[in-house]
Amino acid sequence: MAIIDLANPTRFIALVNRVLPWLIAVTVLLFAIGLARTMQAPDDYQQGATVKIMYLHVPAAWLGMMAWGIMSVAALGTLVWRHPLADVAGKAAAPIGAAFTFICLVTGSLWGRPTWGTYWVWDARLTSMLVLLLLYLGVMALYWTADDPNRGSRAAAILSLVGAVNLPIIKFSVDWWNTLHQGSSVFRMGGSTISPSILIPLLIMAIAFTLLFVTLHLAAMRNEILRRRVRTMRLMQAQELAEAHS
């Protein structure tokens, strides 16, 4: 099946319907493996079992950021090619990205209580994640308030692109702020500094989270397409009524 076929919403829905069960199965399987490995992973000598929060926290953080990247790419599709599927992809990604960002914030807060002694500090990383959540909320607000879905997607696409410019600034700008949160240790120059006994379960969980994201995203895209069809049908019905009437 060529890419061009996928771009057709009907074909896309057919594909999603076929792929989705498999995707769900693989995701569940990976989560099972990941959680099992997580349980076996050694506790931290300082933090004890609370370190297990990390296996939720870190992948959620990554995906929260990745979702914005996907939205930006979709935004280009919307603005440059006016492609309906790009609209749908962007719209579907926003709440999921927001949810992951939110999970990152909540797990981080819960983790912060035992380790830092407080739920919240105005630390660089934390704050930039919170700003990311706010940006997500802004985009979602645009989708909610737009009465015409097409117009809403185009507006949201513009905001996604502008926000994409802003995002790295927020993330890096606060690096020199006094920081409680630890720096990157998985992806960094000169290789990872984490022991494999932690790293491997973490990576498995990260893949599981990514698959979860893909699953949710595809399902949300399908639902959105169907919702738009219903809307169009309603409008057409109203129009026919109006024409038949006169």
């Binding site: 009465d147 109203a238 009524l241 109006a242 006169s246």
Partner: protein, 201 residues
């Protein structure tokens, strides 16, 4: 019931718009206000509706509900349509009916039918064309009964069929003992209305 304007004078923005204006309209009558642009037709209607301050003279209503002001017994159809784009056609009408009603029931559907907007009832008002907006405005006059109609160029933006429907509504209103004062630059389909010519010429 009789609406009497006696020696009316109106000053807007520091300039006199009209003075020494006299008229008298009784129930079952229509009065057409004519005159060139800027003669003061709209100002007169707004004065009667209580929306512009009357600088001099006396405006009085004989009969009608004594404790209510003229404004409360009048419908005003101005250049603006008083519609909210984000509310649907039916919601817009429903709101004004609920707000303006003094007593009696509200008849949304028949009012929409009277201006042929019923098929669009659930459309947001933002999507209406100029004439459709105007018709929705007119539906307000039908939905709530008020004896005095103040119409400022009511036919503007209406297509031929709607002009006919409006004329029918106006005739029915008059036949029912109502009163119409309409400002216009052309014929609006009333039979033998009184005429009030404003300004020079």
């Amino acid at each position: 019931m009789q609406l009497i304007g006696d020696n009316l004078r109106c000053v807007r923005g520091g300039r006199e718009v009209f003075a020494d204006l006299n008229f008298r309209v009784a129930s079952g009558e229509a009065m057409v206000v004519t005159g060139r642009n800027g003669a003061g037709k709209s100002s007169l209607l707004r004065v009667i509706a209580g929306l512009v301050h009357l600088t001099g003279g006396q405006l009085s209503l004989d009969g009608g509900i004594p404790e209510a002001s003229v404004a409360e017994q009048a419908h005003y159809l101005g250049h603006q349509d008083a519609l909210k784009p984000s509310l649907s056609v039916a919601e817009n009408l429903q709101f004004w009916a609920e707000f303006l009603r003094i007593e009696g029931s509200i008849e949304i559907i028949p009012a929409l039918q009277a201006v042929d907007l019923q098929p669009l009832a659930d459309l947001p008002a933002a999507y209406l064309s100029a004439g459709q907006r105007r018709r929705l405005s007119i539906a307000r006059l039908v939905a709530i009964k008020r004896p005095i109609w103040l119409l400022d160029e009511p036919t503007s933006a209406l297509d031929v069929a709607s002009q006919g429907r409006l004329a029918k509504l106006m005739r029915a209103h008059i036949a029912g003992g109502g009163m119409i004062i309409a400002a216009t630059h052309g014929p609006i389909g009333l039979d033998n209305p009184r005429e009030l010519q404003m300004g020079p010429q």
